[in-house]
């Protein structure tokens, strides 16, 4: 049974996802950040689907369980596209977007092939543990890609505040989620960890909404200021 806090987190997340899309439409940034907006729309759609699955089959049902994990894995693939779009923006001046597109297609094909192999090998026992592990791995790939992107931003001294904040918010959300899934794999009884993915589900649209609302496209920031150094 869902409590008021679950519904509150859910509603805020859903509203923020819609807000990000509406905000970028109003500020004429929809096309500039089209993969991000498609991702936000997809997340909103999945959230809406979750609500219907819970009411039709119940929170503890197998249907909801598999819907939750597999839709989230699909969202992770959409997230790859968002990250690749960020890579293209960071490397835009180097005119290497053709290579980025090629590498992205290769990565997507490799991920799909690896996932197919894993699913094919486990098709007789698609257990809870397997699903959580798949979720943990796909989230971790996103963390690695975001971390490499952050490294590139620092190395190339990227100054666009909006891009920097979008990438950092993404890094916070996915590293927390991947870490919580890994901890759940290690300690399946740790009940508190179940709150991390929904909270991060609110954090990401909230942080992106903040960036689109408060940070203009022209705003610049020296990345050296962001590095934490103990002098």
């Amino acid at each position: 049974m869902l409590g008021p806090l679950d519904y509150a987190i859910w509603s805020v997340g859903f509203l923020m996802e819609i807000y990000v899309v509406v905000c970028s439409l109003f500020r004429r940034d929809f096309l500039r950040y089209i993969p991000l907006n498609i991702y936000m729309l997809a997340v909103a759609l999945v959230t809406w689907g979750q609500y219907h699955f819970i009411h039709a089959y119940g929170l503890k049902s197998q249907n909801y369980f598999y819907y939750y994990y597999y839709s989230d894995t699909l969202l992770c693939i959409l997230m790859y596209l968002v990250i690749i779009h960020f890579y293209q923006q960071v490397f835009s001046e180097m005119k290497v977007s053709r290579y980025i597109r090629g590498a992205a297609a290769l990565l997507l094909a490799a991920t799909a092939f690896f996932s197919y192999l894993v699913v094919h090998q486990n098709k007789d026992h698609l257990t809870t543990r397997f699903v959580v592990e798949l979720e943990q791995n796909t989230n971790f790939v996103v963390v690695v890609l975001t971390y490499l992107l952050w490294g590139a931003i620092l190395k190339l001294r990227e100054t666009r505040t909006r891009l920097i904040q979008l990438v950092l918010a993404l890094g916070v959300a996915f590293s927390a989620t991947a870490g919580s899934y890994a901890l759940r794999n290690l300690f399946p009884e740790a009940y508190m960890l179940r709150w991390v993915p929904p909270i991060m589900g609110v954090w990401l649209p909230l942080a992106w909404a903040y960036t689109f609302t408060k940070v203009p496209e022209e705003s610049r920031l020296a990345t050296a200021r962001l590095l934490a150094r103990a002098r």
């Binding site: 950092l168 890094g171 916070v172 408060k214």
Partner: protein
């Protein structure tokens, strides 16, 4: 084994992303000079604001009418300040350089709170002026 490795890497990455994100919010306030008005209200004399002043400044911020657009960043910086406070206390005797870094970061948080207060005071004055204008 794999899960433990992913957990450790994710926690390290999370800390880096979280600290950098909060610093990106703080960086915007560093460019802004504090007005004489806010210095008078808070008793801040020097360019830097003391780390311990953060809570006091935040209480003053809460006394002012809400602008409606600064709640998210105040909350994020408040969380960051709490995190730094814990780090500072835990590392004071073990890693003094980390404790000193946390102190400098908390000073930035306090400066951010002072800037937020400055904005809210300006907003309150604007509201008062507007109300006085409507009355006459």
């Amino acid at each position: 084994m794999m899960a433990a490795l992913i957990c450790v890497i994710s926690v390290v990455a999370f800390l880096q992303f979280f600290i950098s994100y909060c610093r990106s919010i703080l960086a915007t306030s560093r460019k802004i000079q504090l007005s004489d008005r806010v210095r008078e209200v808070t008793g801040i004399v020097s360019q830097n604001v003391a780390a311990e002043d953060f809570q006091r400044l935040l209480q003053l911020v809460r006394l002012c009418p809400e602008r409606g657009d600064d709640q998210t960043e105040i909350r994020a910086v408040g969380t960051y300040y709490g995190f730094l406070h814990v780090i500072g206390r835990a590392c004071r005797s073990i890693i003094p350089s980390l404790a000193a870094w946390s102190e400098r970061e908390r000073q930035s948080c306090s400066y951010f709170a002072a800037v937020a207060l400055d904005r809210r005071i300006s907003y309150s004055r604007d509201l008062l002026t507007q109300q006085a204008g409507d009355r006459f």
